[in-house]
């Protein structure tokens, strides 16, 4: 049995390294922070980490199938813009209309209140998944390389976002914002459960930030089952050796579409949270691009091979957290923020170098080029 543990650690050395690195960095950060180890700091960090962590998970799935999704940032931005219309929470609901080609089309009233908010969340996530599904279909049926297919669809999604929000604006229900971006105690107080969060048994967990709980829930309820499903297995198989996967009778096309759809869903989660956090929708193109690139960096730091077939979305979450913690350091040590990209680059390079060590063991150098 000890053997088995050793094998598992060796096979997941990338993730283990990422977890250790994050733990060390975060410990140092809290030690150096004047208010370290407090709920307030945790909550703030959780809010800053969540969207990137979701995008890192999103990027992981296509990468596992040897594809790259350049549209995750765009999907995030687009879903955020939709959210700024659908999650206003206004008691009487919100009137929706479409101005296009000089026409003014009324789309009826979107319901308000709690049920309206819940419906809005479902619709936003569905839009994200749909965008991912479209990506998958373009890649599979259009037979276009993922990197160029998603570059194009990403531009389309940004276009839709700009159409929805030419300038930043919109509104998100204030209670929703407060409930999701603070600690569990604040959440309970806002939605009036557990005696508004004052219940005796609730106290030991009341300090936990909500985004952290959401992250764990999404990982456990979406990623873990996917990883253990037949289609999830097929995604890994396609990334590992597509020919062998075909010869083994696996549903290759469905696996690819599923990978992109799940990516869209995760990116949608990120966009939804970002909108809730900022209480507005903003078709910010540079931000979408930065998030996409950081998602790729997170995936690599988290131990997933860009060649596909090996790695995990859990690792990518830690990859994203490492990237973010590095930026936290700049705040407390008062180092010029302009140096931040430089250090992020060095960290990324170091992480990638570890992954490339295996090259030294190859005996037939021709295999390096296959």
């Amino acid at each position: 049995m000890l053997d088995d543990v050793a094998i598992r650690i060796r096979q997941n050395i990338g993730i283990v390294t990422a977890v250790l690195l994050f733990s060390i960095l975060y410990l140092l950060y809290n030690l150096a922070h004047p208010k370290g180890f407090s709920s307030a700091v945790l909550v703030q960090n959780g809010d800053e980490i969540f969207a990137l962590a979701m995008l890192a998970m999103a990027q992981t799935v296509p990468v596992l199938a040897s594809g790259l999704d350049l549209s995750v940032g765009a999907v995030m931005t687009m879903v955020g813009c939709f959210a700024s219309y659908l999650l206003t929470g206004a008691a009487g609901g919100a009137a929706l209309h479409l101005d296009i080609f000089g026409l003014h089309l009324g789309l009826g009233t979107f319901p308000g209140g709690v049920s309206g908010i819940l419906l809005g969340i479902v619709i936003c996530l569905a839009i994200g998944a749909l965008a991912g599904f479209v990506n998958g279909c373009v890649v599979v049926y259009g037979r276009i390389q993922p990197i160029i297919a998603t570059l194009a669809t990403g531009a389309i999604y940004i276009g839709i976002a700009l159409f929805l929000r030419p300038t930043p604006g919109g509104k998100i229900d204030e209670d929703l914002n407060w409930a999701l971006t603070n600690s569990l105690g604040d959440f309970a107080a806002t939605v009036h459960i557990f005696d508004d969060g004052a219940a005796q048994w609730f106290a030991p967990v009341a300090w936990i930030p909500v985004p952290f709980v959401l992250l764990v829930l999404i990982a456990l309820l979406v990623w873990v089952p996917f990883r253990r499903s037949v289609i999830g297995r097929a995604v890994y198989a396609v990334g590992s050796a597509e020919g062998a996967a075909y010869m083994s009778g696996l549903p290759i096309e469905r696996a690819k579409i599923a990978a992109f759809t799940l990516a869209g869903f995760f990116a949608g989660c990120g966009g939804l949270f970002l909108a809730i956090q900022t209480s507005s929708g903003n078709a910010d193109i540079p931000q979408a691009g930065a998030y996409t690139l950081n998602s790729i960096a997170s995936v690599v730091i988290g131990g997933t091979s860009l060649l596909g077939g090996t790695g995990s979305a859990i690792g990518s979450i830690f990859g994203a957290m490492i990237l973010r913690v590095i930026s936290f350091f700049f705040r407390i040590f008062d180092i010029a923020p302009l140096l931040q990209p430089l250090f992020e680059g060095l960290i990324l390079l170091a992480a990638v170098s570890i992954g490339a060590l295996g090259v030294l063991r190859v005996k037939n150098t021709l295999e390096l080029f296959r």
Binding site: G249, L250, N364, T365
Partner: protein, 515 residues
Amino acid sequence: MPDATLSQSAFLTLSGISKRYAGVRALEGVDFACERGKIHAVLGENGAGKSTLIKIIAGVVQPDTGAMRLDGRDVTFATPSAANAAGVVCIFQELSLMPDLSVADNISIASPPRRFGLIDARAQRRRAEELLAAIGCEDVNPLMRVRDLPLSRRQVVEIAKALGKKPQLLILDEATSALTSADVEKVYAMLARLKAEGVAILYISHRMHEVEALADRASVFRNGRHIETFDKGRRSTADIVQLMIGRDIATQYPPKPARGSPKPMLAVDNLSWDKSLDRISLSVGAGEIVGLGGLDGQGQKSLLLALFGVLRGVSGQVTVDGREVRPGSPAAAKSVGIALVPEDRKTEGLMLPMSIADNLVIASLDAISTGPLVDRARETEAIKRGIARLQIKIGAPGDAVATLSGGNQQKVVLAKWLMTDPRIILLNDPTRGIDVGTKQELYRLMRELADQGAAILFYSTDYDELIGCCDRVAIMYDGRIVRELEGDELNETNIIASALNIDGATPDTPGAAHA
């Protein structure tokens, strides 16, 4: 010729199966049948059509004409999984494993055990353990990634994976080639068990002693045709070899010059690498063409790659023109005057989208440059000379090399290397997939180059070609040179006999490989 005695009790029947690839005949009007509870060997030379036959049976390719009946029903398999569903399972030579997935994942990849709709990792692991135990290989931990296993263990996993599909017809295509002798015994035992359970087994192997030990019946293929099917013991080994050779239209080869004793240009001493080269010693004289023969995959390609500096961890000594060399990369090999026409011209020989001109000069840019700049006039001159020397048929030198026919592409590869003025030319099956006319031009050119003093080491899967072109032929088996043939000894019977290692000899290297 259909066998009436077979068709009554046959489990699988093929009738009139033909298949062409891009106009080249792979199978022609093949009738074939096999029964339950019998091990049926399929024999033939390289390119006899064996692999096309099993690919058709296993649903990897579709026949152009002909019909297939399985268990009395007409069947067509559009995909490998359709064949699997009908109980036809094939263990392919090229492994069908996914390297990044664990052994257990791979074994159950097609239909994993499930609980609540999700893969049940524990049940899957038990299943892997059971199947591995069934072939006596409990030492493989199902948690291991296939990538981390040695080749022989991967093949074991492949066999376990096939068993897990509960085959009615099991096809083994050289499935024991990478196994250790201990594992081979276990696989034999497993085959005997399956046979007793009434599974039909098709066994493709180049190892004659294996076929003799295992098969109840054998079919010989040659040039895409089914030649004969016979029961065990009805034909001697010599008969079988004769059936495999047959007779073909003779190709014209340039005359061989009288042989003196040339000074060795390339001398290899005790060369070993990984598991595929085992203490190789060989010399090639200036002006000599030495062939590398034997069945596909006995280490010939590795030998050429080792000499060209592609392999790491090669032990032994290589001398070029009396001086010891140790090329660590193709660039280093080039600088000591070695050229290699590689196995796959489309990926390793040429840059397909680049122009013919660019491809021609890509290995000899130093010779036509002044400082860092390529001299356009000398480049044009060199390209013109290269095209003329090999009589490459092209539209314009600026066309993409992909637009040329296979034969002319191969000429471009060769011309590219001739521009470096190599002293040693390594050829890896250069005439594969090339029309007869171009082949003869290549033969003539090889002799011309040898006459000008080059040492040529020539690997070919075509025995006829080896006999016609080479001054000497070294036959490889299992990473060793088992025999060198020259003069009158150099004939097809000797080549095939040595290639199959019929005497089972392990000459000059006591205690080698399967000890």
